[in-house]
Symmetry: D2
Subunit: 257 residues, 4 copies
Amino acid sequence: MNVIDLNCDMGESFGAYSIGMDDQVMKYISSANIACGWHAGDPLVMNKTVKLAAENNVGIGAHPGYPDLLGFGRRNMFCTKEEIQQYIIYQVGALAAFCRVHQTKLTHVKPHGALYLEAVENETTARAIAQGIMALDPNLYFVALAGKKGETMRRMGEELGLKVVYEAFPDRAYTPGGTLVSRKQPKAVISDPDEVAQRALDMAKGFVTAVDGSTIKLDVQTLCVHGDTLGAVNLVKTIREVLGANDIKVLPMGEGS
Amino acid sequence: MNVIDLNCDMGESFGAYSIGMDDQVMKYISSANIACGWHAGDPLVMNKTVKLAAENNVGIGAHPGYPDLLGFGRRNMFCTKEEIQQYIIYQVGALAAFCRVHQTKLTHVKPHGALYLEAVENETTARAIAQGIMALDPNLYFVALAGKKGETMRRMGEELGLKVVYEAFPDRAYTPGGTLVSRKQPKAVISDPDEVAQRALDMAKGFVTAVDGSTIKLDVQTLCVHGDTLGAVNLVKTIREVLGANDIKVLPMGEGS
Amino acid sequence: MNVIDLNCDMGESFGAYSIGMDDQVMKYISSANIACGWHAGDPLVMNKTVKLAAENNVGIGAHPGYPDLLGFGRRNMFCTKEEIQQYIIYQVGALAAFCRVHQTKLTHVKPHGALYLEAVENETTARAIAQGIMALDPNLYFVALAGKKGETMRRMGEELGLKVVYEAFPDRAYTPGGTLVSRKQPKAVISDPDEVAQRALDMAKGFVTAVDGSTIKLDVQTLCVHGDTLGAVNLVKTIREVLGANDIKVLPMGEGS
Amino acid sequence: MNVIDLNCDMGESFGAYSIGMDDQVMKYISSANIACGWHAGDPLVMNKTVKLAAENNVGIGAHPGYPDLLGFGRRNMFCTKEEIQQYIIYQVGALAAFCRVHQTKLTHVKPHGALYLEAVENETTARAIAQGIMALDPNLYFVALAGKKGETMRRMGEELGLKVVYEAFPDRAYTPGGTLVSRKQPKAVISDPDEVAQRALDMAKGFVTAVDGSTIKLDVQTLCVHGDTLGAVNLVKTIREVLGANDIKVLPMGEGS
């Protein structure tokens, strides 16, 4: 029987500002990537989100980003290797504290936004993130991009001895080469719930249909889903149902093996 | 033989901004209160300061403050009990991460600046801080003001079951009632190194001479010293020498008993 | 014929975070208090909101607050007189720049949240705000609380020579003494749209019905309304209609005299 | 008789953190680039620095940077054109407010650190900065890099109709092609005061000696000097004396023509 993880960014509210439908989406996912107060989130939100995840038996991950609340961590910043490593330790450590408070454990780390994208492109950034995680806790899973494009990021984690979890995006189109179609292209994002759910099922089985109709292999352990709108939440629910109907178990990272 | 701890605020630099003579003062103290990035400090500074403390066998404490870098945490902010508790968990957790990275342990928590002063005045604030520490790790020492004025703060910690460490200030004048003379008064701060060192010695022995010449009892386990100027560092050195010459051992919190 | 101003807090979104229904409410108000990037707002939001106000012939005001984005400026901070004065100059100056860019003028300043409340209570704070405004531009209107409770704030502005505009809250209950009923009291906030609109009309005519049924005089030039929910926007619309149906002209500060 | 401007970054202190010897260096320069609170500086520092500059008849400029206090504005951030333009308006507007308060005028704008370097490399960034300045006040001078490398930046300013001031660095080595030798090269920075002063004199006369000994023409109206150490201040003093001894007048931007 196949197993897959559904991960979603959570805890992105900040002070008086609210983003996301965390209460709703937490019911359908198996892993939550929780913002750590730098690009989003704050201590009250982190506390509440960790608690909510624990109550729903959802695996808890840190979602560290650049120090850029104004840009929601979506803008690349030229940080040194040393800066990135220490920023990771700080943010992951802060989130881990809330896990201790709620007597649950921190399972994984997934870099956020521009930091994730830079880790895909840039070996130095990927290694700095991995080193930060490794220095703090070698048992943490490191979420990295599945497919050809994610090779560098995954290799940086694996060379250091981290357990790397391969992530794919069921709502994104893939090239025959196994990379994501750029968001600048017309059909980069797939919005039909049934189609996305079918792709999630395919990915859980180890393959995906590329834009040219060819079937490509894709080694995937976690699928990234969204929870910022009601439509997004319903999509996650659909994915979950389709996976269940096809005997794919949805479990947090590390619990499927 | 008597034992006392010498604690000093450390790691208050931020990005390109430098404050304090940490390298110098670290040789003479036994506990470092390290800023956690909210009122001062940043991940690189935290990492470096934890490492420096560990290398010098100095006990490591978190020094959490209000979210007010612009005011260096010296301005009171009307935060709720819930806010204070979660801010403590976040900041202490972030510092604890750097301790794990350097395979050393976090020993104590001392609130910074206006947060400390508010905890002295306000039972709710003191309890919120203590609850944050307790929720995270009940083995952490909670540094609280010695003397009459510090009763509320100490009680809040002790009622929760925290190990409270009583702190006095050898360079500050005390009233016959055992409280600090307000800084607004002319002779509130003592600057003569020999006098301060003598007072440190007295405090280590359990008493202090008040402004009226009377000798009052003061239950003290840690003395707060400063390291922001060359003069301050020399003063700490003098205190350390005078304590040593009088067979008072200087040890981190918890190592003397 | 009577004239009144309807003012509303605007431009409180920040980066990826959205608050308020500015596009909707801007049609019904005559003055916008625009956040200046410290407790809320950012340069893009300020630019957009100034443009929107100008297009709707709405008077533009700066809405400066404490440096506390995390607390949305709703927590009191113990700032010095000097700090408050310079914070006002900085924030009002930044907003004035966007007015110049859009070839419109800055009309008024209304302190936000905890800074406003502190100005009501504390003469030093009120004077520091007024001095900041005066130093920058003596032609700016200073919005201050109407009624007995607002006397200090208004006097501080008027003593310096500022043009002070008296503000009342149609959705808040008033005591027979002419002060706001505390929000901790059960009927402090009035939610029925017709009742609020009637009170707005009364206020425009110079009086208000207190909680004991007595009618008290209230010297008012501007009414504070809200625009953060659809219900709030509809309430503003109702107020505007009732004022219009009763020959009360709704005009920005200074345009009615 | 020749005229040159000496500009220096000023007002980079923040809260309790102090950087630079502004009081000393202000006596020898003719233009101050004052930080605007984003990468450095705060309202109190801005107020004090504007006052100090005005008292010394030093031309006042805004020195806007990226929203990155932690990185002191020295790290490139991928901002959109719209973001950069509005960030410029915000920061320059805030500084202009302090000029109004001190009844003096804002003369110029010089982007700081990574924003300056990006403007040199990237036409879009350079234009966005120039558009922000233009939208706010077309009379402000725009400081741009002199020499071949600065062509794009200068052209973006000039095409929009801004008055562009060409800036050179007397303590930096130049290639025969008229560009700065990279800091990664061994002799990129010149530290001998007499040599730097001679180069400043040459630049004021319109030329510079390149690393290969050749003399190249360089159209320059302002020279960038530093004031962060006692040595730097003495260097500025030496430059000023050498210029004076050679009948080169040191005047703020725009006052020489």
